[in-house]
Amino acid sequence: MTYSNKPMAKVDTPLIEINNLSYAYPRRGSVLKDVNFSLYESERVVVNGDNGAGKTTLLHLIVGLKKAKQGDIIGFGETCKTEKEFNKLRAKAGLLFQDPDDQLFCPTVLEDVMFGPLNLGFTKQQAIEKSLQTLKDLGMQGFESRITHQLSGGEKRMITLASVLVMEPKVLILDEPTNALDEKAKTRLVNVLQALPQAMIIISHDKLFSDKLATRQLNLKDGLLTEQLAATVAVA
């Protein structure tokens, strides 16, 4: 595969760094308290946590879909504050949503995958080529003219993955990618993800799945993000 094979300037600068991040929902109170976190090249970090622990919130904060009242987010060496800065970050950090249905809004698969490149300023022709290539890399060739709304859960997940990968992100952020997938689709996804070179942040409730992928496991509880001690670490 062909994604982001330019080496980073220095391997020990984190790709994404979070400093003292706190967040609270209006009526619910504090969800994240003083979270610190760094993601380095070719890491696959799994974040565990109960329902409602704030995992999705954390991911949305990282790419600036929600704005933190306190704390810094440093993406690829630049502190992000404004919408414009975050927009630059989002092109490099692809986020896969918890529910594929929320992410697929175009009539056909090809149009949906093209959406990202078009936003990045590619021409239509380039966007089509890139999209077809990405679909092929994921083994989804032949799906381009299928109608998104009529795909099965597993297929939808693969298409959302394609629509993120086509933007050639340096970091992949996956919010419960195995949600509502059956075993076969899960195994397929693990294989695809293991073959990708990107650094990843993954949320998963699925122990087996995360153990297979994780190079580091974290735990989010009571708003605090801590290193998981009894981490079983896969071979990177």
Binding site: H60, A91, D99, D102, N119, H149, M167
Partner: protein, 264 residues
């Protein structure tokens, strides 16, 4: 600015405007609805400044006593007043009358200016009374009150359904909108933007229609056979009568001020 507007609107889910508990909350919902309706009728048909200004004063008093969040209330009124500002700029030039000043050969008239100001006063008075008397109840209470006031049943249930599902659908909208943002989508003035928003909107429609089918199914499962029911007893108490009568007296005063030839 457009982003801010969008945000403040999509978070509404049928709840009352933010306010602290006050004596207005204790007044029967029907009385509040009827009073504000009559108020609008009287104030809008006022020909003179005195009744309109009195109405505005009354509106301010009601806003104060309903303990509405002043900042938010003002923000809503200001949005409308921006439109009024345009009117104030145009009307003096298009209404013939005693000149104030003239630019580029156009003459501004006192009559036009006064007319524009009168409209502004009326519109603000009506809105503020609506905010303090009606918007301080939740939309479903409003629905119940309307049902008691003999508004057609279907219309009331339509409103209740709408209020019920506004939040669900706006959540779906926001999620999809965020997913687009996450793929580096920025709203611009171009066809790509319009097409994407069109797709988003179409998808929202489809998901909503599918939801409507599921709701119908759920209703069937509970033996639905073509009738809806509302449950709540509304009783007129002493407070309601006192408030209603006082308010009516005030309105009669405003009408009286209008009839009086004093100002002619």
């Amino acid at each position: 600015m457009s982003q801010g507007l969008e945000h403040s609107l999509t978070s509404w889910s049928g709840q009352a405007l933010k306010h602290q508990a006050s004596w207005i909350d204790d007044i029967d919902a029907r009385v509040r609805v009827v009073c504000s309706g009559l108020f609008a009728l009287v104030v809008v048909s006022s020909q003179h400044f005195v009744p309109a200004l009195l109405g505005l004063l009354c509106a301010f008093l009601l806003v104060k006593s309903s303990k509405l969040n002043i900042k938010r209330t003002l923000r809503r009124v200001v949005a409308m007043d921006l439109f009024m500002l345009m009117l104030i700029c145009v009307l003096p030039f298009t209404t013939p009358g005693d000149p104030i000043f003239s630019v580029f050969g156009l003459t501004a008239s006192w009559q036009g200016l006064l007319h524009a100001l009168l409209i502004t006063v009326k519109a603000n008075a009506v809105l503020l009374v609506l905010f303090s008397l009606v918007a301080t109840m939740s939309a479903s209470t409003l629905g119940h009150a309307l049902a008691h006031l003999k508004v057609p049943d279907k219309l009331v249930h339509l409103m209740l359904f709408m209020v019920r599902y506004l939040d669900v659908i706006s959540q779906e909208y926001k999620k999809m909108r965020r997913a687009m943002q996450a793929r580096a989508f920025v709203l611009r003035t171009n066809r790509h933007t319009w097409k994407s928003i069109g797709y988003l909107f179409g998808m929202l429609l489809i998901r909503s229609v599918e939801r409507a089918e599921r709701i119908s199914d759920a209703m069937k499962c509970r033996g639905f056979c073509g009738r809806y029911y509302l449950n709540d007893e509304m009783k007129i108490g002493r407070v309601d009568v006192v408030f209603g009568v006082a308010f009516l007296c005030f309105l009669v005063l405003l009408i009286g001020l209008n009839i009086d030839d004093l100002f002619k």
